[in-house]
């Protein structure tokens, strides 16, 4: 049972060959595959993280842009309203000024026409007075000689 023999040497050689085979043909290839996979996985995780961060950035950017656009829109609306108000005010003041101007012109016309009518009336009254007086006096009154008198009369009417 406990006899040692050449089996020992044979098994040592076999063991050495097995170790050699494992060292050269099994271990390095499989560890290489594992290490490469580890690198791949690490890269994949990194990429995912980066993509996640980029997505977040993009979201933030979009949100900021939307906010800005909304602000701009409200600004534009405000400005437009202001402008409309200004235009309306201006139109109103213009209209008032035009009305006043027209009114003043009309009043002027009325005044001058009244003046003219008054003068005509005065002349006609003068002439009537002359005619009347000549009929009373029965003779021709020379309008040229009595011009002063007639003018005085006309001014008194």
């Amino acid at each position: 049972m406990l006899d040692f023999n050449a089996t020992l040497i044979g098994e040592m050689i076999a063991f050495a060959i097995l170790i050699w085979f494992c060292v050269h043909f099994i271990w390095p290839h499989i560890t290489k595959a594992i290490e490469e996979r580890q690198i791949k996985i690490a890269e994949g995780l990194n990429a995912a993280e980066r993509a996640h961060a980029e997505l977040k950035d993009a979201d933030n950017k979009v949100a900021a842009e939307i906010k800005q656009a909304r602000q701009q829109a409200t600004e534009i609306i405000d400005r437009a309203q202001q402008q409309a108000n200004q235009i309306l005010d201006k139109a109103r003041t213009d209209a008032v000024a035009e009305i006043n101007r027209q009114k003043a012109a009309a009043q002027d016309d009325i005044a001058s026409m009244a003046q003219r009518a008054r003068e005509e009336l005065r002349e006609r009254v003068g002439a009537l007075a002359v005619q009347g007086a000549s009929k009373i006096v029965q003779r021709e009154i020379d309008p040229a000689t009595h011009k002063l008198l007639l003018d005085q009369l006309a001014a008194e009417i």
Binding site: T7, A14, C22, I26
Partner: protein, 268 residues
Amino acid sequence: MASEPQGGLTEYITHHLQHFKPVQVSGNFWSVHIDSLTVSLALGVVFCLWFWSKVRKATSGVPSKGQAFVEIVLEFVDGQVKDVFHGDRRFLGPLALTIFVWVLLMNAMDLLPVDLLPMITHQFGASHFRAVPTADLNLTFAMSLTVFLLVIFYSFKAKGFGGYMHELFTAPFGAHPLLWIPNFLLNLVELVSKPVSLSMRLFGNMYAGELVFMLIAGLFSAGSWMLFGMGIIGYTVWEIFHILIIGIQAFIFMVLTIVYISMAHDHH
């Protein structure tokens, strides 16, 4: 064989504990154990071809199930090496892997029915056959002596000739010249005990396991149905328990090898 009529249990067991060799006498050096050599070499080839066939198609992408299994085994072994040894694992890793898988496969021969391989080989003219190579001292010592040589080699390599000699003669007691001899003797005992304990542990466990299997198998031919039933139960229980021992012994042999070789790298 259980059917050998005239011998009884004692002869059955002594027959089964005989190795198959060309000359069936003790003491002949060149009369090798053909059974141990055949089974261990066959299992070594199985290990190499199995792992190599998976490794050859190894991809860093999604691995096949076979490759994943090989990777799991390798990662397990590599983890054990990494825990103990902090250096270049390009040799120690494959060494540990070879030991673990090979010893595990050889131990697993114990799980085959104790008479199966002897019965088959008997048809081809083998008078005796022991199926478990790790229950052969020649094999366990072959492995432990190889490990021992590696320990010596790495001791010299890591510390240099002078450094290793210095350590042998001055550690652990001190550098005083009077202490050189005790130091050296202690280191010698420590050194020699490594391969002896390594191989005897594995051999003892496997040999005892085999013996128990044979004893239980003796119940089958004891001639009573009661004993036959007890034999079946006992064989099953022992076999299930033995699965544990098989793994543990392979694991211990591997871990101790790693520890011894990493100790050879340590400076005192």
